[in-house]
């Protein structure tokens, strides 16, 4: 089974022009440490909100491809936001290793259902020992540079 960081790299390659939103915890940490890009928004908090942020963005910019990368624990916290899907320009991936790894490996309950727009990507347990992502102002400045050049300019 692949590591989280390898799957993140694959997703970035698979959607080369998309705007990415990574959920908080190890997903954002490893993505920002190993594959930092201006087109990526790294959540530092806001547990369970990655998908709703993606929905808000995608609906406001229907011509922009948007990708949300969630963890399985985070996804379950945000389950009510699944009612906002599908959105045609939004791709949703859940990196699923079956545990809340950021907080010590507590088991994650299974998903009660998996809609066809929801892409479960199984990953192995294990982390790269990365630091917290960059601070919020740095994340926002980088993102705004990309957004200005590609969307909001």
């Amino acid at each position: 089974m692949s590591k989280r960081i390898d799957k993140i790299a694959e997703l970035l390659q698979a959607h080369p022009k998309a705007f990415f939103i990574f959920s908080n915890g190890l997903t954002s940490r490893e993505a920002s440490y190993f594959h930092r890009e201006d087109r990526c928004f790294y959540l530092l908090h806001g547990m369970g909100e990655a998908l709703s942020i993606g929905v808000g963005f995608a609906k406001a910019q229907p011509d922009t491809e948007v990708v949300v990368v969630d963890g399985d624990g985070n996804a379950l916290m945000g389950l009510a936001s699944w009612s906002l899907m599908p959105v045609k320009n939004l791709y949703y991936y859940i990196l699923a290793n079956g545990v809340h790894e950021t907080t010590g490996g507590q088991k994650v309950p299974s998903f009660p259902f998996v809609p066809d727009w929801c892409n479960i990507v199984e990953t192995s347990i294990g982390q790269e020992g990365t630091p917290n992502p960059p601070g919020p102002s740095e994340i926002m400045t980088s993102c705004q540079k990309w957004l200005t050049n590609n969307i909001n300019g």
Partner: protein
């Protein structure tokens, strides 16, 4: 204060839902709501608004819209603060982004149902301790609405506009 058709206290009517809608649409261009009866007459008059299942997801959607270049306003009942405070702190507040948070301040009047009373007591103290600026629509009316929106988007901060029962036609 004034009385409703049942003789119960109501706060003064500050403006009609039509005027409120027209003004808020001149200040913001993205709207979201978890429905509340105080906004019953406002929602159908908005050109477009987004429905969310819970207030925390509404904040998430509004934050996504803000990243996408919109000026968002969300309309929620005060009890929704209990569901969305973490989302607010983890998105708009943490990343210094502007949001107009329109809150119906239920549970302030004595006749209101008991399930609203605690929220009537704690809404403003909770917002204050959360470092969210509050502007009272009851005290300032349309000037307060305009001031709240201006502060939110010029200073990149969350500003709460509290609306009392009776301030808008229901």
């Amino acid at each position: 204060m004034r009385l409703d058709e049942k003789g119960r206290d109501l706060f003064d009517l500050k403006m009609s839902s039509a005027e409120f809608t027209k003004d808020i649409e001149s200040q913001c261009n993205w709207f979201g709501c978890v429905p509340d009866s105080v906004f019953k007459q406002v929602l159908p008059k908005l050109k477009h608004w987004h429905l969310a299942p819970r207030e925390n997801h509404l904040i998430g959607m509004a934050f996504g819209a803000k990243l996408a270049g919109q000026k968002p306003a969300v309309l929620i009942q005060n009890s929704g603060i209990g569901l969305c405070l973490d989302a607010l702190l983890g998105t708009f507040c943490l990343y210094n982004q502007g949001l107009l948070l329109v809150i119906s301040n239920r549970g302030v009047l004595q006749w209101e149902e008991i399930q609203h009373q605690d929220w009537g007591d704690i809404t403003e103290p909770l917002l204050s301790v959360s470092k969210i600026k509050i502007i009272s629509f009851d005290e300032e009316g349309i000037d307060g609405l305009n001031r709240a929106a201006k502060m939110a988007f010029e200073n990149n901060e969350v500003v709460a506009l509290t609306i009392q029962r009776g301030n808008l036609d229901e």
